[in-house]
C-alpha cells in the first residue's frame, strides 16, 4: 500500500522554482497511486482546500497559513491528510528553505523528508540543526549539498530538480513574437526572480555592471531579463541599469502586466531560451538553479557561478565565474560574491563563440529531465521513509 504524502512547498500552479518542482513530483506520484496533498506556503490563500490538476492526477492543495512561512498550519495539514488516509503510513515532504521550519508541532511528525536547498558556500547552522533532527531525512537537491552534509556527518540522499520536455531546442525565430530585437543581435538572457534586497542573492549589481561593460564594447548585443523589473520585495532594476550605464535601448524586460498575470508559459520561456545566445545565471549561490538546466535543455549555454550547485549543472562548454566569500550574518554562513570582471570575461568568451545550439549542453542536462528522475527515485524513497 502506497504511503500518504503531504507535500509542503509552493502551490503546483505557482510559476516559481518550488512550484514547478512540486508540480513535477506531486502529480506524478498521484498518477502512481500515492495519495498526495500539497500544503501551500505560497500560491493559495484565503480559500478552502482546492483540487489542482497540473497535467496529472488531481492533488488537494491546502491554503497557506497566517504565519509568513505557514508554520501555524504545516503540521495540522499533515495530520489532516494522515487522518483522511488512516490505514496508510505517511510522510511529510518539505520543499523550501528549512531554516523557516520552526513549528514545535513538527517534532510530533514521525517522518519528514526535507528536499533541501543548500545555496551558501558553507552550511548555515539553522539548516544543519534542522537536518540533524531525528525525524528528518535530508534530500539534497545537488551533489554539492549532499557532499557538504556528508562532511558534517549528516546522512543525506540526492535527488536533483528537474525540467520538463517542453524545454527543448526551438527555432531561433520562434521567439520573434516575444522579443523585439534585431535578428542578428547577440542576446544575453537572464531569468531570475527579483526578490530580496539584502542580500540580493541574484547578484543584480554585479550582473548589470558586467552587462554594461560588455554591451559598451559589443554594439550588436542586447540583454533581456525575464523578471519583474520593479517589485516591492525586490529592487528597482531599471534604476540599477541606468546607474550601471546600460543604455535603455539595449535592455528589455517582459511585459510587466503579462508577467504579473502569469501569461508567460513554459513554452514561451523555452522559445526565449532558444533565442538567447547565452543565459547569464550568475548569483551568490543556488540551491539548484532551474533556469541553468532549462536553458541548456534548449541548447543554450550558460554563464554561472563557480559555487554551490551551479558548477555541476553547467555543461562542458558553459562558463564558470570566479568570486570570493562574503559573510552572511543572518544565516551564519558564507555567500559567494561573483567578480564583475570575471562575468565580463565570460560574456566576451560567449560572444566570441557566437552563441548557437550546443549539443553538449543538451546531452549534459539529460540527467535532470523529469522523465529520467522523478519516478526512478521518489516512489521507492517515499515507501522506505514513510512511518
Amino acid at each position: 500500500m502506497n504511503p500518504a504524502v503531504h507535500w509542503w512547498s509552493n502551490s503546483p500552479h505557482a510559476p516559481t522554482g518550488y512550484g514547478t518542482q512540486t508540480k513535477a513530483v506531486a502529480h506524478r506520484l498521484a498518477d502512481q497511486g500515492f495519495p498526495v496533498s500539497i500544503g501551500s506556503n505560497y500560491g493559495l490563500e484565503g480559500v478552502g482546500v482546492q483540487d489542482v490538476t497540473e497535467g496529472g492526477s488531481p492533488c488537494p492543495v491546502y491554503p497557506r497559513g497566517y504565519d509568513g512561512y505557514s508554520q501555524d498550519t504545516i503540521a495540522a495539514h499533515w495530520k489532516d491528510w494522515s487522518r483522511r488516509n488512516p490505514d496508510r503510513p505517511s510522510l511529510l515532504v518539505t520543499l523550501y528553505d528549512v531554516w523557516v521550519l520552526t513549528a514545535p508541532s513538527l517534532r510530533e511528525v514521525p517522518a519528514i523528508a526535507s528536499w533541501v536547498p543548500l545555496d551558501h558556500m558553507t552550511v548555515p547552522p539553522k539548516v544543519l540543526n534542522w537536518l540533524r533532527q531525528p525525524n528528518v531525512a535530508p534530500i539534497a537537491m545537488s551533489r554539492f549539498g549532499r557532499d557538504a552534509l556528508e562532511r558534517l556527518d549528516v546522512q543525506a540522499t540526492y535527488i536533483p530538480h528537474t525540467f520538463e520536455d517542453v524545454f527543448r531546442p526551438r527555432d531561433r525565430a520562434a521567439a520573434d513574437d516575444l522579443l523585439d530585437v534585431p535578428q542578428d543581435a547577440f542576446v544575453v538572457m537572464m531569468n531570475a526572480a527579483n526578490k530580496g534586497r539584502a542580500p540580493t542573492r541574484k547578484a543584480w549589481s554585479e550582473n548589470l555592471l558586467a552587462l554594461a561593460m560588455f554591451l559598451k564594447d559589443h554594439p550588436d548585443a542586447v540583454a533581456y531579463i525575464h523578471t519583474e523589473p520593479v517589485t516591492p520585495f525586490g529592487i528597482d532594476l531599471p534604476a540599477l541599469a541606468e546607474a550601471a550605464g546600460i543604455p535603455k535601448d539595449r535592455l528589455t524586460f517582459p511585459g510587466a502586466y503579462p508577467y504579473r498575470i502569469g501569461a508567460y508559459s513554459e513554452d514561451m520561456l523555452a522559445r526565449l531560451y532558444s533565442r538567447a545566445d547565452v543565459l547569464l545565471a550568475v548569483s551568490m549561490g543556488e540551491g539548484f538553479g532551474i533556469p541553468t538546466v532549462e536553458a541548456q535543455a534548449c541548447g543554450t549555454r550558460v554563464i554561472g557561478s563557480d559555487c554551490a550547485a551551479t558548477p555541476e549543472l553547467l555543461g562542458p562548454d558553459s562558463w564558470k565565474v570566479e568570486g570570493q566569500p562574503e559573510w552572511d550574518p543572518e544565516q551564519g554562513a558564507f555567500w559567494f560574491r561573483p567578480h564583475v570582471h570575471a562575468i565580463v570575461a565570460a560574456l566576451r568568451e560567449a560572444y566570441k563563440e557566437g552563441g548557437g545550439r550546443s549539443q553538449k549542453a543538451i546531452s549534459h542536462v539529460g540527467q535532470y529531465a523529469a522523465k529520467n528522475v522523478v519516478l526512478k527515485r521518489w516512489p521507492d524513497l517515499i515507501r522506505s521513509l514513510a512511518a
Binding site: R132, P134, N135, A137, D153, Q155, T157, D380
Partner: protein
Amino acid sequence: MRVAWVSHQWPRDDDATAENTALLPGRYAGGAELLQDAMRSRAPAEIEWVYVDPRYDAALDALKSVDRTIVGSLDLVSDSQLQTLARHRPLVWVMSKQHPRVLPVLEAASPLVWVSAQQRLWYPWAPDGEECSGWFDTSEIRRESVRDGTALWAARDHPQKGLFKSRLWAADRGVPFRALTNRPRAEVLDAMSRASWFVLLANDHDPCPAACVEAEIAGCEVITNGNVGRVPVSGPEAVAAHVESNPSRFYGWL
C-alpha cells in the same frame, strides 16, 4: 578483596516487560546496565562486591570498608559525594554523557577508563586515560558466510539511536532495510548473522554500543557516524578476541 561498585545503573530483578520501547526488554534498561553487570560477572573469584547506589545519602559511607572502588556512573552522584569519591581514587569507567562538574573524580581516577577513543574526544576538558569497551558473551554470536543483502538496524526505540537516518542510508543505496527493536537478543543475533550491513547513525553520543560490536563479530559491515564509538580493532575475529580480553585488562587496573 572487597570492591565497591558505584552506580545507579543496575539490572532489574526480573525479566519484566520494559516500561516502554525506549528501554531494552529483560533485565537491562540500556547498554550501561548491561555492560556494567557483564563486567562484574567476569570478575576474579577473590572479589567481594559491595554495591553502592549514590541515590542514597549515606551510600558512600560503605567506601570506608572496601579495598578499592569502581565507578560505573556519575550521573546521580551529588556534588558533595563527588568530593568524597575523589578521595578514594576510584577506577572510573563511565558510559553516560559526562558533565564538567564530575571533573574532580575524573582527575582523581586511578585509572580513568573510557569506553572508546571516540568517547574520549567528546570531552576535551577531561584527562586522558585507558580504554575498555566492555565484555559480553561472544560465543552466542554466529556468522553465516552468505549474507542476505539487507541493512539491519537493531536498537532501543529511542530518538538517539537514529532509526530514521539509518533508514535513509539504506534507501539512498537501494538496499532492503530491516529494523528490530524490543526484540530478544537471540533474534537480533540471528538477523546479524545474515545481514550484510549493520547501520547505526546515532543522533547523539553513543560511546560504544554493544550492538555494533556484536554485528561486527557476526560479519556485518558496520556503518556508523561520528556520534558512535567503536572498538580499536576491526574484523570479526579480532573484535571477538578484543572483547574477550577486556575483563583481564580491566581487572588488571584494580
